[in-house]
Symmetry: C2
């Protein structure tokens, strides 16, 4: 049985696992904190160790295993052709030849792509977007990433930067974003932005029980705290959650009118809020987007929390190899990938 | 020589012409006012007459001509499979079986698509976007339409509504748009919206020479008047033009970050403003969009004013036929289209 190692590099966690090339199994799933402050060499070193352990565990579970290669999802922007990560503000990497480093360290053919692209591809392959030809993914965490999957393959655009939905303007004169732009969706609806909007309101004098959740260290309020307090009925938290749904809804309505997708998969911790997020969000999309486009589009939570990026990185590797070998593109993992 | 009849239906004008299937020639170009108030039957009747005259003129110029079929670009939303226009607010059509009506009236195989899709495809085929694989079009007129051309073909999305860039939000709490949404690009930067913003400012007491251009009938101010007064140095008009460039720039920056196109082609009367539009517009895109994506993207005026829609409708017809016959997609007009 052929397996592909999948790596998902996040600002907070590294996740590694081995995926059967037909998507039927995932073995050796490992997760540990990224600790970017240790520098790129240390992170790469640990990734190599994690991948080796994941392969050992998989070999125990599947004695006939063979490893076809390695797929890596990394924050970008990056160059998929040279395998270089150009710049990742959250990790502090610049012009990092990640593909070459991992390929050398593990002796496995390696392919690199954007982390949100991989997560969306994973949801298309084994998660919430199976069977759909026009898929968008929105990953909401420290930042807001996005991915576009058309006919089962990542859409890259001209220079690999397509899908940066977090950095689309929903208020032309709005909040300054870390990217330099004004009024980006990410400046309102990323985890830190949700927390900041609540903190600012309290600092401006609004009443809330939120400080009690963090021992009155207001700066410790996180998006999770806000959603927890909302569940407990805190009025300010409820207002922030409602406003967040409305803003994400405005962002998704733009995507619906632009791409006319069959499904938008929302991934990340914020989806744990469930109906509290999705009901007002869907209402906002229906209010804003064209009726036929909105009616044709499901808006759902990801079904592979924590592993979508690993599945997607593995399939991305297989598809890249298939293209190289001149095989047909598409439904992925046909076993025509070469043996490492 | 095979030709295809192309029809471009606009809110203001109907344009018809006959295009050689390799794009090398356009004959029998005819244009007349749409006059939607006469009702759909009268418009269809006139379109049939225009197409017959266009074919006659083409037969005079090219004695060996044969007509392969008819491509029609119409405002939407529409269903390309059934050939039905579902709804066009500007024309007042509802569930109009346009393809069947034209096919019957002319005895030519007919294919239907969105007008802005066709205009963008025309610019890819014979205009400003030749040779590019990732193309977006923005048509600015009575409304703001859009088109997406990937690898030389129209990207339709799930139910034919992709590319509605005029109805993407750039200010979540902004001006109400005719579509029901708030803060749409179209509500600020369509021709009528440009005029309205100037009129509102004058009504609110701002000084301007604009009323002099329209015999003091303020409601007769159009986008053209505003651009003319700006050229003459009117301060209010200059401010409206600058703000318009900034808002279109914000909208295009969203497209650049989402699609990572090689080129965005801007079509419509507003492009006559030239540098006065494009210099601040490009500056705004560079300020807002990701550097690699902005650097990779040309933002240019269409090169086929008045005929892009006719060229694109003709190529759309040829591509649809090729797909049906199982031929290779792509560079269009290979002459493999069937004879009508």
């Amino acid at each position: 049985m052929q397996y592909v190692v999948g790596i998902d590099i996040g600002g907070t966690n590294l996740v590694v696992g081995c995926v059967a090339d037909d998507g039927s199994a995932l073995h050796g799933l490992l997760r540990e904190p990224t600790r970017p402050e240790e520098g790129p060499d240390a992170v790469v070193h640990r990734l190599i160790g994690m991948a080796q352990r994941a392969m050992e565990q998989t070999a125990h579970a599947v004695p006939t295993v063979a490893f076809a290669g390695l797929g890596v999802g990394s924050p970008g922007p990056l160059n998929t052709k040279t395998g270089t990560v150009l710049l990742t503000p959250n990790l502090g990497w610049i012009d990092m030849p990640l593909r070459a480093r991992l390929q050398q360290g593990l002796g496995l053919q390696t392919e690199l792509d954007n982390d949100a692209n991989c997560a969306t591809l994973g949801e298309w392959w084994q998660g919430a977007a199976q069977g759909s030809s026009h898929v968008l993914g929105l990953t909401i965490g420290t930042g807001i990433g996005g991915g576009i999957i058309l006919n089962g393959e990542i859409y890259h655009g001209a220079v690999d930067t397509a899908g940066e939905f977090g950095h689309t303007t929903i208020d032309a004169d709005g909040r300054r974003c870390k990217c330099g732009n004004y009024g980006c969706l990410e400046a309102y609806a990323s985890g830190p932005a949700i927390a900041l909007r609540a903190i600012e309101a309290i600092e401006a004098g609004e009443e809330s029980t939120l400080p009690e959740y963090v021992g009155n260290h207001l700066r410790r309020v996180s998006a999770e705290t806000v959603y927890e307090a909302a569940k407990d009925g805190d009025e300010l938290a409820l207002e922030v959650v409602k406003e967040t749904s409305r803003l994400i809804g405005a962002g998704i309505a733009n995507l619906v009118n632009s791409f006319n997708p069959e499904v938008v998969v929302v991934c990340g911790g914020v989806t744990l809020a469930g109906d509290r997020l999705f009901i007002p969000l869907r209402r906002e999309v229906n209010r804003r987007a064209f009726k036929p486009a909105a009616s044709a589009c499901r808006i759902v939570a990801g079904e592979l929390p924590g592993t979508a990026g690993v599945y997607g990185a593995a399939l991305m590797y297989l598809q890249r190899r298939q293209h190289e070998w001149g095989g047909a593109a598409g439904a992925g993992g046909s076993g025509s990938a070469p043996h490492a």
